[in-house]
Subunit: 303 residues, 2 copies
Amino acid sequence: MKPITKLSELVQFVKKTGKIKKIVVACGEDPNTIDALHKAASEGIVKTILIGNAENILKVIEKENVPNHLFEIINIYDEKQAVDKAVKMVRCGEADILMKGLINTDKFLKSVLDKDKGLLIPKAVMSYVCAIELPEYHKLLFISDTAVIPFPNIEQKKAMINYAVNMAKRFGINRPKVALISASEKVSSDVPNTVDYAILCKMVDRGQITDCIIDGPLDVFLACDPKSLEIKGVDTPVKGDADVLIFPTLEACNAFYKGLMLFAKGELAGLIQGTIKPVVVMSRSESALSKYYCIALSCLMAD
Amino acid sequence: MKPITKLSELVQFVKKTGKIKKIVVACGEDPNTIDALHKAASEGIVKTILIGNAENILKVIEKENVPNHLFEIINIYDEKQAVDKAVKMVRCGEADILMKGLINTDKFLKSVLDKDKGLLIPKAVMSYVCAIELPEYHKLLFISDTAVIPFPNIEQKKAMINYAVNMAKRFGINRPKVALISASEKVSSDVPNTVDYAILCKMVDRGQITDCIIDGPLDVFLACDPKSLEIKGVDTPVKGDADVLIFPTLEACNAFYKGLMLFAKGELAGLIQGTIKPVVVMSRSESALSKYYCIALSCLMAD
């Protein structure tokens, strides 16, 4: 498989597999969600079940001028019952992908995270990986954690690496280059994340983390700019050609990607990790295009 | 004064003041430094004294094809003595600005930070502020701390705010809008920096921090994108129009600015804060243009 280097190529790739995924939306009366799903359905990559207040759902469908034969509708008024039903359908294999509609994220995740009836893989770390497309970079960048773990410890960082590497491999990147991001390439006991990074690199040496080329601490220049290696005289197997950037904290990763979305014409597709099936939770501030790419990503990861 | 919104305007503004600043370079045998100073001298904003191995300095000047009448040269072979002499000249008022040449940063800073003979303001917090220019933002962004304080406490954050506000005012921005950056706008005891931010905002209410409009925690979208306020339904006096971004950690600020330099065509000018006179320390990986802007910034701040 030729690596996917753009999010638009991702949609085409999913389309070519010919597999149509079933998405179930909890509380489907949301115009943005319906628009994004309409676009995905038009490309022939998804079939959609909307759970929620059927009357309101139909009103939104009409208002958005979307053909309503594209959607199966299950009429459940109560929010909690609607989410529980959607989660159950994914658990039972009646749907491939769960998606959040017009409902508070905390309420939605409560059902998803339910130990007995939810979708979390037992004992798995929950995290978030984004594939970000930047006109000024020659391929996609997979970054973590943009949204879930505030201050990852070593085990959580290890899980973040594995999730990001696994996602990159689905994009056709055989041995992704992983950069563990810090402010410089120096290990210092004053900066605990750099010590974690040294430990993680040794885990790679010992085969405790596999399928990737990894190095850190590295700054963003050494991770993504080959010229910086020469200027700084640093030798690293990542070679300024990173596929994956692992960040020390959510604060750092979140500011990084939001800066690039605003000022570097970035687009992204992101997904919660650690669930038995893909769970799509999109932020209201994401662009319509990013929402559409999120759906395509969930189709890729559902296989 | 009309606010300076671009780094090229900064050079023109400094030029118009008609004041020529005297820069002394410790270990001046550095081609990049000499090139940047040549450009600044051509604009008529600086006069330069190069301290170091005179023979090597003259060789570099010849090789770079720079007219050597632009530079006064003081011949001192020993690195430490060269830096000490440069620091002393600034302390005594024989020069306005100190600049690092071809010498290890730690060695250079050791002389600068010397309690008795150095350039640090007694008891001052040392920090670093950058003015960053982005084609996709309508004005300059002042960010801190990109380089010095790994994990600022409240007092250090307060100093960072004061330094950045002071610099922004020199650029003609009367009441800079300061955003205290986090991953979201929510205060949470699980994220200590957001608690610091709440305390800092109350300090502003009580007049303990002045001359700025300030709010936080805010994410980068709420800080710099007015549309996000509507989408998220958040009301903040920063109004998506921030002049200053204060970051929770060096890790976060460093990755943010390096991402924008690489992928958003950013240019910057930065300066150490907390010294009695400007001290220019430039990274080897900064562009020639950024180095030139750093010199112009030091001229502005030397007044």
